[in-house]
Assembly symmetry: C2
Homo-oligomer: 319 residues x 2
């Protein structure tokens, strides 16, 4: 067996899914929050979750029921190492809902095993393993948060082709995320979407999403931000997040280029290319949530350009 | 008056509009066919169309009714030169329908006046003038063919923002266009579209269009071609083009990466990244049209990377 490392620590970032108009299509990894996994080889075959911290006891400890454990097991299978055993400790570090929490866990689990294997697989090869983990939780194939957490930067996803691409990153983009202390589940939120999209909304959102991809490719943070304008899904979901309309107004009045729901909510994100405005935008958004009766966690971030990574701090111990 | 040149000859290429999934969003200029305009200053104020060739007498000769004349007049206005006079000869060189014929005329008209003015305006500044010309014919604002003819390469258009961006070009992409000898009008074709787009189709087309933009940015001709898969508009328009389904099947069987309707039809385009296959693809497509009872013009092209341009062959005569 090609066991390159005895023990590793890896990280996968939180992410904004469904970025603006790009429902199920655009994802963006953010700096700061994310999941960390400590992994080591063990004698008992299969994946074992030794501990989970930071989840308040909510997540299943059985590896076969856990998005992180499922993704890790898929990578062992991919490597033809089903008889090997790996023990994982998962440290949850993604606040609330709407920031790709389960995707970060799946990606961290997959990357942990890959790191133990000496990074045998390229990131593209690991996407299906991450999908398997995420699917268990969300009940469908949604690539946006997974690809963002895995590849880093801004990603474009094409579920029909089962592929995703890292478009690039925007170094100057500031991302303000405000996460209210409420629950919101992807499954419920998706069930509320109308099956009929007006032709105008279809063209608007597609054009805006393409403009955002083109803007990332050109390094144009201002256009990326101004194109965050979802006329199809956001109007249907806005009512699920108490205070959303006022939070968005507050962000735009404070100078944000664009503001929308992160993933299926309840997190709300805004962007600016002016670092001097981020605190005012965050203050305005948190204030609007407070006036709506919701306390909220604020994350001041930028785009995480790297995605899943092995942490260097002494955790890699060659055999 | 800053009249840089006495007489110029300019060219604007034909283009594929609504490229694949990117209805009203993606455009692509092609090498070969296009409109040429000869322009010179004249004493009588305003735009005058001295002649039009290649249109079989179908286009209006009055400048105020002609897409080329209207766009040219808008550039005179933009320059604050309304009292100047310009005489135009328009040589139509775009076959049939679906290849941005009116857009090429509008762009060539706008660029002709700009060339007489010593290319005073950047291309981005001329887009509104081109829109004014095209609008007269098509009855709406459609940027895809205009931006492609003006900027060249592959363009992403955002009508709500009234902006368009040149994403880049794909040097290895071969474009086969087959134009049947039938008539098809943008207005009629648009009127037949359903206003309700299924959510799945919306996501599919948006993801595919974003994948195409990302592919151009990465120089990935194969993904660009494979993502040409329109599940929203093409199924509704396919029946308007006699033989379309068989033409598409023939293109794909002959090795094309993707095939769809160009613009609102009746032209059909296919792409490949294998130059050795273009003739077989063209032969297969033209054969399928012939079996459906339509004779067709075949254009073997690549992406025109430059868009509108002043022709260098002695036509530029400094004052």
């Amino acid at each position: 067996m090609n066991q390159q490392y005895r023990r590793v620590r890896v990280f996968a970032p939180a992410s904004v899914g469904n970025v603006g108009p790009g429902f199920d299509t655009l994802g963006m990894a953010i700096t700061g929050p994310g999941d960390t996994v400590e992994a080591e080889w063990c004698d008992e075959p299969g994946i074992h979750i030794a501990d989970i911290t930071g989840d308040g006891g909510r997540l299943p400890r059985k590896a076969a029921d856990n998005t992180c454990g499922i993704a890790a097991a898929e990578v062992l299978k991919l490597a033809g190492e089903e008889t090997a055993g790996v023990s994982l400790i998962l440290h949850k570090g993604v606040p609330g809902t709407g920031l790709g929490s389960s995707a970060a866990s799946a990606v961290a689990g997959a990357w942990a095993v890959n790191a133990l294997l000496g990074e045998r697989f390229a990131k593209e090869e690991l996407l299906p393993a991450c999908v398997a983990g995420e699917q268990h939780v969300s009940g469908g194939v949604f690539l946006d948060n997974l690809a963002a957490a895995l590849y880093g930067g801004v990603v474009a996803c094409h579920t029909t082709m089962n592929r995703a691409w890292r478009v690039g990153t925007l170094e100057d983009l500031q991302v303000v995320v405000v996460t209210p202390q409420t629950q919101g589940l992807t499954r419920d939120s998706r069930g509320r979407l109308s099956d009929g999209v007006p032709l105008k909304g279809f063209v608007h959102n597609m054009a805006a999403a393409c403009a955002m991809v083109a803007a990332v490719a050109r390094g144009d943070a201002a256009t990326f931000g101004r194109a965050i304008d979802d006329r199809v899904v956001e109007p249907q979901r806005a009512g699920l997040i108490r205070g959303f309309a006022k939070v968005k107004d507050a962000a735009l009045e404070a100078g944000a280029l664009g503001c929308s729901i992160s993933g299926a909510g309840a997190s709300v994100f805004a962007v600016t290319d002016d670092a001097g405005r981020t605190e005012a935008i965050a203050h305005a958004m948190a204030g609007a949530f407070a006036r709506a009766g919701a306390s909220a966690t604020v994350t001041l971030a930028r785009i995480d350009a790297d995605g899943a990574r092995t942490l260097p701090d002494g955790a890699r111990i060659p055999e």
